[in-house]
């Protein structure tokens, strides 16, 4: 019996990095899932919440809940620990709302970050990928500390054939993205990502792999600014053998 998955593309995955969405869907299908994508889905509204505008955020949260629940799949899966975390916080935000609290609880109960889903629901630790080179993993803060997904991405990466996975200095430290933080306090955020990239460069990598498009956009933007030859990949791209961008 195949597992029915409703795919949560996230706004960055839909617009800026479509390959993350594409590789996610192909990976889930390769592993036997039936994947649907509801085009009515929008953004999790995290930029609004993190700036303190909870009430304004609720409009799109309701839109997203309806879209992700419409397909009635067993699971909703997204390629971002941060966005999944935000959706998991909906029940708290809609507490006491007679119409929406129940939907929020239902969605929060079935939404999964993709690596967590692969390892802990599908029970797969080796997706059969091959990627040659030296790589390091940047654990994103929301996914690691707040959502608590630490091991699954490392387990999956460890099983990629020919990939040499190495640690780097300051690996657990925030890259300075922080959503709106990056544009509200640009210079400070910039100092943080500059240090992150210094440490990445010192580790002499072919690939820097992460699991959250926001952090990767920040790190890749700094790598590009400095002109280093390091390829930044979302983990689903690595698990599909390198992706296209």
């Amino acid at each position: 019996m195949t597992i029915r998955v409703s795919f949560f593309a996230t706004c960055l995955g839909d617009t800026v990095f479509p390959d993350i969405g594409i590789q996610s869907v192909l990976l889930l299908e390769k592993l036997g899932c039936t994947v649907s994508f509801n085009p009515k889905q929008t953004c999790c509204a995290q930029p609004l919440v993190n700036s303190g505008f909870h009430e304004k955020a609720k409009k799109s949260m309701r839109t997203l809940m309806d879209a992700l629940l419409e397909d009635d799949s067993e699971y909703v899966v997204g390629p971002s620990g941060s966005c999944v975390l935000q959706v998991k916080e909906y029940p708290e935000l809609f507490k006491g709302d007679p119409l929406w609290e129940e939907k929020a609880v239902t969605l929060a109960g079935k939404i999964w970050e993709i690596t967590d889903f692969l390892v802990n629901i599908l029970g797969i630790t080796d997706v059969g990928a091959r990627l040659k080179g030296r790589a390091a993993y940047h654990p994103s803060c929301h996914m690691t500390r707040l959502l608590g997904v630490k091991e699954p991405p490392l387990t999956l990466l460890a099983n990629i054939q020919d990939l040499e996975l190495v640690p780097f200095k300051g690996q657990e430290k925030c890259c300075g993205f922080g959503g709106a933080f990056a544009v509200k306090l640009g210079p400070l955020s910039g100092a943080m990502v500059a240090e992150k990239v210094d440490n990445i460069v010192a580790a002499d990598l072919d690939y820097l792999i992460g699991a959250d498009a926001g952090c990767l956009m920040n790190i890749a933007g700094r790598i590009q600014r400095e002109g280093h030859d390091i390829k930044v990949l979302h983990i689903v791209q690595a698990l599909m053998g390198g992706g296209v961008s």
Binding site: A9, G52, F53, F181
Partner: protein, 463 residues
């Protein structure tokens, strides 16, 4: 000093601190060293989470029953002969102190390190009244010597200076001729300060925790200066934040075990001073008069505010050492006496949103502080809640941000508008790099959104 330590705006402070590569490397090195020591110390102790749970439960219990324990503390301390005062405001606190000092015609006060005296601005008040104040904690002495430079950390106030800079300060201001070896500098300072201890009329200290069951004032230090301040002068004045209470020595044991490990990665500090009342007949040393000033200065307001958990703080400074933003700007970037995650969580509610709303921006929401706070203060959640209060209740974000957010909310709230928006997203490359886009571009490139959206691919894929 007071809670506010700078008149610069947030952007001015950031620019200044980010431009100080010297300070930044000092702070980064200190963070790495102290964080390693802390994690080693807790690993040796074992059962880290259980210790944190216990410490958090003790602090939460005290805050729930603060009236009871404060009352008990005052009763016991008075019984033992201390004179206890309650100061509602910073000025009440310094007024009490000034009265005590003027009554004995004090000319010179020696102080051990105390954040709460800085919070109420004690030194300035005493100096105004021609009472000389000498900071005897080495870090504070360095800052006082360096034209009253501001502390950059609550435990290690001179964290932003390295040994070379410290040597320069003493060479310039005190005629120090030696090298930059810490032991030699310390020996020089020790000689200078010793004279002050012996000639001071009054000793002033903070109080790490008051023990309610015995009315004891406690002090942790590493340099022995605290012991000197509390034993030599005839009069002693203790400042205690009103939340700094533990029920008994059993709880104090747990709190101190966490404090020393968290602050400096040590099992205990070199000195633990316990003062129960003034010098008794059989005592060889100690003050003849002991005054304890319990400071509110906004704390009651915090207790009632829904941010009560922030008052669990034991002032270990761990959240600052762990914070990736603090790392690049030090305490000076915050412009507040209490910086870092604690500062963001505490200062707006202690001292007012209007004045301190901007510091809540200095956080990338990484959550690292939550994982290391020894009393499990929900720092991340408190910062998020402050942002909500600022945006929604106090409406202090200015006119533009709510408008932008309103538009964004409409776009992402409507599948149709959102779909149109994603189609236009790639045009961002033609926009001028100003405002938020300019902020992004300062230090990094922005990937150009793809013309081909995921949803376009999926539509074909699903056919």
């Amino acid at each position: 000093m007071s809670i506010k330590t700078s008149n610069l705006t947030l952007n001015e402070r950031l620019e200044k601190e980010l431009g100080d590569s010297f300070m930044r490397s000092s702070i980064a090195n200190a963070q790495d060293l102290l964080n390693q020591r802390r994690s080693d110390a807790f690993e040796e102790l074992g059962n880290y989470e259980q210790w944190r749970d216990n410490a958090a439960a003790i602090r939460a219990h005290v805050l729930e029953n603060l009236d009871y324990y404060l009352n008990q503390f005052v009763e016991k301390a008075t019984e033992k002969g201390a004179k206890v005062y309650f100061a509602k405001t910073a000025q009440d606190a310094t007024d009490h102190a000034l009265q005590i000092l003027q009554k004995i015609q004090a000319k010179k006060a020696v102080k051990s390190k105390s954040m709460v005296t800085e919070e109420v601005g004690l030194n300035e008040v005493l100096e105004e009244a021609d009472i000389e104040v000498i900071e005897t904690d080495l870090g504070e002495y360095i800052l006082q010597t360096d034209d009253c430079d501001k502390p950059s950390h609550i435990v290690v106030p001179a964290l932003h200076k390295n040994r070379d800079r410290i040597r320069e300060v003493f060479a310039e201001k005190k005629g120090y001729l030696g090298d930059n070896v810490p032991e030699n500098i310390t020996r020089f300072v020790r000689k200078k300060i010793r004279k002050e201890f012996l000639t001071a009329d009054v000793g002033i200290t903070g109080c790490n925790f008051g023990v309610a069951e015995t009315g004891t004032v406690t002090l942790v230090t590493n340099e022995g200066n605290g012991r000197f301040v509390t034993t030599t002068p005839k009069t002693q004045v203790v400042f205690m934040g009103m939340e700094r209470i533990v029920p008994t020595f059993a709880e104090l044991d747990i709190i101190f075990s966490m404090l020393a490990r968290s602050a400096v990665g040590a099992k205990l500090t070199s000195y633990l001073s316990f003062m129960t009342g003034p010098k008794a007949e059989q005592d060889k040393d100690g003050p003849e008069d002991l005054h304890i000033i319990i400071v509110d200065n906004g704390r009651s307001q915090v207790l009632k505010s829904g941010f009560q958990d922030v008052l669990r703080c034991i002032r270990c400074g761990t959240c600052m050492l762990e914070c990736p933003a603090y790392r690049h700007i030090s305490g000076h970037g915050y412009g507040t006496l209490y910086p870092g995650p604690l500062g963001l969580a505490l200062v707006p509610i202690l001292a007012g949103y209007e004045e301190y709303k901007d510091i809540t921006k200095i956080c990338s929401l990484c959550g690292a502080c939550n994982d290391v706070c020894p009393v499990k203060i929900p720092l991340y959640e408190s910062i998020m809640e402050h942002r909500r209060v600022i945006a929604e209740e106090k409406k202090l974000t200015g006119a533009i941000e709510p408008m932008v957010m309103e538009i964004y909310s409409h776009v992402i709230g409507s599948p149709t508008l959102y779909k149109a928006g994603t189609k236009l997203a790639h045009l961002i490359k033609f926009l001028p790099k100003v405002g938020p886009l300019g902020e992004w571009h300062r230090e990094r490139e922005l990937p150009v959104p793809s013309k081909k959206r995921f949803r376009d691919w999926y539509k074909k894929h699903a056919q």
